[in-house]
């Protein structure tokens, strides 16, 4: 028992604690499910699953796990095509559904990569929002057992001269720059696009790529009853739990709990230590399963690990080390504090595990144990506050077949072609206007704030169309290879607005070409689908068309989708952004010394046009 448990143990039971016992005795207590974003039928499903009303901690878990962000409830039916239409690929080692996909790149090496959005937080607090976006995607890559080796960022802002762009753009770039540079990850490419449709909804999509030995893939799973569950990394604080306040305040009348920050603040230094610490843990082979703590924090990590393992887990929630000792259990469950990971470790390895954490100055605490009970049971100073089948939260969330139809003006929009425009008679003025447009201007103001050289393996970065990395000195003792990887992210919201099916395909084709022209063989695809509200049938049509287009194109080009992310609700009032699928393609070059640069390298070179 921890010191704190002892302290509390001497006191009277906590009258504000909503225990399972209390929930059984108060079936009709009103619960703030709607404030937590849950629909009535979703709440009733929880009651059905549990055979009683959920405790407030259980409600916290289900509400975050069944949110759009974690459950993909509106997108799932469409995303399935990426699996059903997936081309045969010998390279695919881990497909969709894990933290990130993994592809075989030869010589015993595997690459894992994924792109993710952090759009809404970046609008509220550009620097921290973008920074924690990088932090989150890097932890996804780490959790696969890989060393993160580079990042990229695809950005969309409102008009370049708009007032709010002046607030958002510098903050976003500084956030990415500070966090990524501080982690020592070269930034090898990305995009900056300006369009008025993004003024209230900038897009910040961050990609991370990592490398690992093919036989050392780690998965988010908690098998083996008796194995320990370790929470390690930063302390848990009241980050991003604005929503949890309704739960805490429902039982706990206290001003400080009514007002919690909705922004998360990152500590890149802690994350850099976490990277090195995790790699040493992997090298020492003391990790059975591992999961990063993302949006749904402890709720997500415990339910997902338990659901994919033996099926049960006991957690003593009061053992979670806190930055703010006043946090309630519901808030701990929903906290989005950054730079945290959860690992499953055998009792025999726990000392070695802890020693490595100590070396890297990383706080680590055993908070629970794997069981074969089939239940996720959490206690708070001895009282049971959660007792659920973990799979019901992690995997059996609601799935919606949202209605969709073509937007009213779609045909008219397409009929309105440039043919209507007057022929410009002054070519010089037209050219100058083009050259002066922010979308064609140099992106050096952005890219010069990113370290592209760190780790010493950058073969191509800006201004190349694809980033290329040598694979060298990734992990101690691993064999060297001549191979390299190439990566590009592309997307065009204007094309996708005109035709989401073709727009998504064009994004893929562009990224595919950018990778191919470096001399690399494209192998796999990741994507970040940025759209408006899925409850708007016209947006849902754009989404359905874009996913269909991307899945079809992946099949034709023979590259499977290995993972990605959906960001909905990118809209201001009822006006959605342009549908913006951003596609990342990863390729492999057998001999990276043979990479092809863009641009002329000497006089008398011939120019040849390929294709139509």
């Amino acid at each position: 028992m921890s010191e704190r448990a002892d302290k509390r143990g001497g006191q009277a039971p906590d009258p504000n604690l909503d225990t399972v016992e209390r929930a059984e005795g108060t079936p009709d207590e009103r619960q703030p499910y709607a404030e937590l974003g849950m629909k009535l039928d979703e709440y009733e499903r929880v009651r059905d699953i549990l055979g009683r009303r959920p405790t407030s901690s259980e409600l916290a878990i289900y509400s975050v796990m069944w949110s759009e962000h974690c459950s993909y409830k509106s997108s799932k039916v469409h995303l399935r095509q990426f699996g059903t239409k997936a081309p045969e690929s010998e390279a695919l080692l881990v497909g969709m559904g894990e933290n990130a996909g993994v592809v075989d790149i030869g010589d015993g090496w595997a690459a894992t990569f994924k792109i993710e959005s952090h759009n809404h937080p970046s609008y509220v607090e550009p620097h921290q929002g973008a920074a924690t976006g990088v932090g989150g995607i890097v932890r996804d890559i780490m959790s696969m057992g890989a060393r993160p080796i580079a990042v990229m960022d695809a950005l969309r802002f409102g008009a370049a001269d708009a007032h709010d762009t002046r607030r958002v753009l510098p903050g976003v770039v500084e956030g990415i720059s500070h966090y990524g540079n501080c982690l020592g990850l070269p930034n090898i490419g990305g995009e900056v696009v300006f369009d008025p449709c993004y003024i209230g909804n900038p897009l910040v999509n961050a990609l991370c790529v990592g490398l690992l030995r093919k036989d050392q893939i780690k998965l988010a799973t908690a098998p083996g009853p008796g194995n320990k569950v370790v929470l390690f990394g930063a302390l848990t604080g009241p980050d991003g739990i604005g929503g949890a306040s309704v739960l805490a305040s429902a039982t706990f009348e206290d001003e400080s709990h009514a007002k919690r920050p909705s922004v998360q603040v990152g500590d890149p230094f802690m994350e850099k230590l976490l990277i090195e610490c995790c790699l040493e843990l992997y090298q020492a082979d003391v990790v059975v399963g591992i999961q990063d703590l993302g949006a749904a924090g402890v709720s997500c990590a415990t339910t997902e690990l338990a659901a994919k393992g033996t099926g049960g887990m006991d957690v003593k929630l009061e053992l979670v080390p806190l930055r703010d000792p006043s946090l309630r259990p519901e808030e701990i469950l929903m906290s989005e504090s950054q730079e945290r990971m959860m690992a499953v470790v055998t009792p025999d390895d726990i000392d070695a595990f802890m020693a490595i954490c100590t070396k890297w100055d990383i706080p680590a605490t055993v908070i629970g144990e794997v069981t074969d009970s089939g239940r996720l049971v959490m206690t708070w100073y001895g009282e049971t506050i959660v007792d659920i089948p973990p799979g019901t939260a992690a995997d059996d969330g609601p799935v919606y077949e949202r209605p969709f139809h073509e937007p009213a003006g779609q045909t008219a929009l397409n009929a309105d072609t440039p043919a209507r425009l007057a022929r410009p008679d002054d070519l010089r003025a037209t050219l100058l206007k083009l050259l002066g447009s922010p979308n064609l201007a140099s992106k050096e103001w952005v890219t010069s704030q990113y370290d592209r050289y760190v780790r010493g393996n950058t073969v191509l970065a800006q201004p190349a169309d694809a980033g290329v990395l040598r694979i060298s000195e990734v992990m101690p003792g691993a064999e060297e290879t001549t191979r390299g990887i190439a990566l590009s992210t592309d997307g065009n919201g204007r094309y996708a607005r005109l035709d989401p099916y073709a727009g998504a395909q064009l994004a893929l084709a562009e990224a595919y070409r950018n990778v191919a022209v470096t001399g690399a063989r494209p192998l796999a695809v990741t994507n970040c689908l940025n759209f408006g509200s899925p409850e708007d049938p016209e947006v849902m049509w754009q989404f359905a068309e874009a996913t269909r287009g991307l899945a079809d194109a992946c099949k034709i080009l023979g590259v499977p989708v290995t993972g990605g992310n959906v960001s909905f609700y990118n809209q201001t009032g009822s006006t959605p952004i342009h549908p913006t699928p951003v596609v990342g393609v990863l390729g492999v070059i057998d001999d990276v010394a043979g990479r092809v640069r863009s641009g002329f390298t000497g006089p008398d070179e011939k120019v040849i046009l390929l294709g139509e």
Partner: protein, 227 residues
């Protein structure tokens, strides 16, 4: 004859240690990893303090690192003549440890800058620059947010008149450093600090579009072998 041993220090948050070690090996030396918490210089012949964000650059760049147990060994050894090179964060640590005069502050432009930068070698009387020629212009990457060198007038005057300014920026000053200073040395000449990164400019395939950084490593290895 065994290869010269160049220690490469890792603090929590150091980033360029791998590249520095690789550059030492490329030049034919042996790179010896030194750990900040381990007060043992492992009998190295010279020390490379690489760049990065040690301790997250919290408080001030290099402010916390200079108190590391290893530094308690390194500081007296450097004062006694051990060749030491600090690049970027390593330069900041050397200044914080008062092994070099002055301080490095937030760039005048207030932004982090990563670019390939022209540099003039002003002084070759150090174990790290003997393979260059005085006045030689080279290209090395800079990548930092806090590289503006400042010192009071007396110190600047002394640096200038003693030939302690080893590198100056040419073709534009990326951070507002006084007198375009990119790097300096101590009076004895064994300790050199600079903001640019020689370790990122040693290979054709990767890093900056130059291999001018090789001169640093060939200089020190020749010096150590001829000792």
């Amino acid at each position: 004859m065994s290869a010269a041993r160049v220690g490469v220090v890792t603090f929590p948050g150091t980033l360029d240690d791998q590249d520095a070690a690789r550059a030492v090996r490329h030049a034919g030396g042996e790179a010896v990893p030194l750990w900040h918490a381990d007060p043992d210089l492992k009998k190295v012949d010279a020390v490379f303090l690489p760049g990065g964000f040690s301790y997250g650059d919290y408080l001030r760049c290099g402010a916390i690192s200079r108190f590391a147990p290893l530094m308690e060994e390194l500081i007296p050894a450097a004062r006694a003549g051990l060749p030491v090179l600090g690049t970027c964060n390593g330069f900041q640590i050397l200044c914080e440890a008062h092994l070099l005069p002055g301080a490095l502050m937030r760039n005048a432009g207030l932004h982090y800058v990563c670019r390939d930068q022209g540099i003039r070698v002003e002084n070759t009387a150090t174990p790290w620059t003997s393979d260059f020629t005085e006045g030689q212009e080279i290209v090395l990457p800079v990548k930092h947010g806090e590289g503006r060198y400042v010192a009071d007038e007396a110190t600047l005057g002394a640096l200038e008149s003693n030939g302690q300014i080893v590198f100056r920026y040419v073709g534009g000053n990326p951070n507002g450093s006084l007198n375009d200073i990119a790097g300096i040395r101590n009076e004895a000449g064994n300790i050199v600090g600079l903001m640019p990164h020689p370790e990122h400019a040693v290979e054709d395939l990767t890093g900056a579009p130059s291999t001018d950084g090789r001169g640093f490593f060939s200089s020190i290895l020749k010096k150590l072998v001829n000792l």
